[in-house]
Point group: C2
Chain length 158, copies 2
């Protein structure tokens, strides 16, 4: 058993504070300006970038890194808002497809500028280009580690 | 309105994936091994580092960067487990003090090695010393920004 070094502890505490504050800030911004939490925005945004704005539920859960039950709950609410709809998958009777509706797309288009501005103000306006590249690399290393080993306890396979 | 550059988008996506996966991973680890989510662990750990293992509720909320109502909820549960207890503040009748009990301290001592190992495996075993220093600096810049301006909409003042 090896404790964290002083440098690691400093990094860990600052990271926890930054991520806790950031999550709160972005959730508040999106709740206030668009009536949805950050994770719902991520779902709309991810769907908007696919061909025909649709995706299998299982793939969407993997992209957004959440459990299928959390996704189902979110999709039900977003369906109630008229921003998404579910379709059955023609090639797989157990699969379900989630589709971004035109209303949902309009909502995203309307919401995106304010959200991007918030992300920019909180992060990228404050980091140098070098720090942005460092953040990308560090985040990739951490994310890759949590995908391994194959068969890891990743949320979307639960 | 300025969109994110390609480099900023890459960094932002990787960062979101890393933090979503990490939160899930650490919550699962602590739920499995200690029956508590990550945020509860942070409360016990923060209290353990203070003189006499006690702190005012308002200060604890600020340290852990959460709202007072979220803290009250967590403290009620941790009090039920016998790990914390509340005392009224002698110098301020409206203030409340939260105290880490001996049982709570034992629980923390028992839980810490496995949790530190998980943090190490997910982050610090994978980063170079240079990356650890970069992560500390980047996190500090982001956290500082979200504390400003004075009177910012920080969670613990809500």
């Amino acid at each position: 058993m090896e404790w964290l070094t002083a440098d690691e502890q400093t990094a860990w505490r600052s990271f926890l504070q930054a991520t806790t504050l950031l999550e709160d800030y972005l959730d508040r911004q999106l709740q206030r300006d668009a009536g949805m939490p950050h994770m719902y925005y991520a779902l709309l945004s991810t769907l908007s970038e696919t061909p025909a704005r649709r995706m299998r539920m299982t793939e969407l859960a993997e992209r957004v890194k959440i459990t299928r039950s959390r996704l189902s709950h979110a999709v039900a609410r977003l369906e109630g808002d008229g921003w998404l709809r579910r379709e059955s998958c023609p090639s797989d009777r157990r699969g379900q497809i989630v589709v971004l509706t035109d209303t949902g797309y309009d909502k995203l288009v309307q919401t995106a500028p304010g959200h991007v501005e918030a992300v920019r103000a909180a992060i990228f306006d404050r980091l140098s280009a070098e720090q942005t590249a460092q953040l990308a690399e560090i985040s990739q290393v951490i994310a890759d580690g949590l995908h391994q080993p194959a068969g890891a306890d990743v949320p979307w396979l639960r």
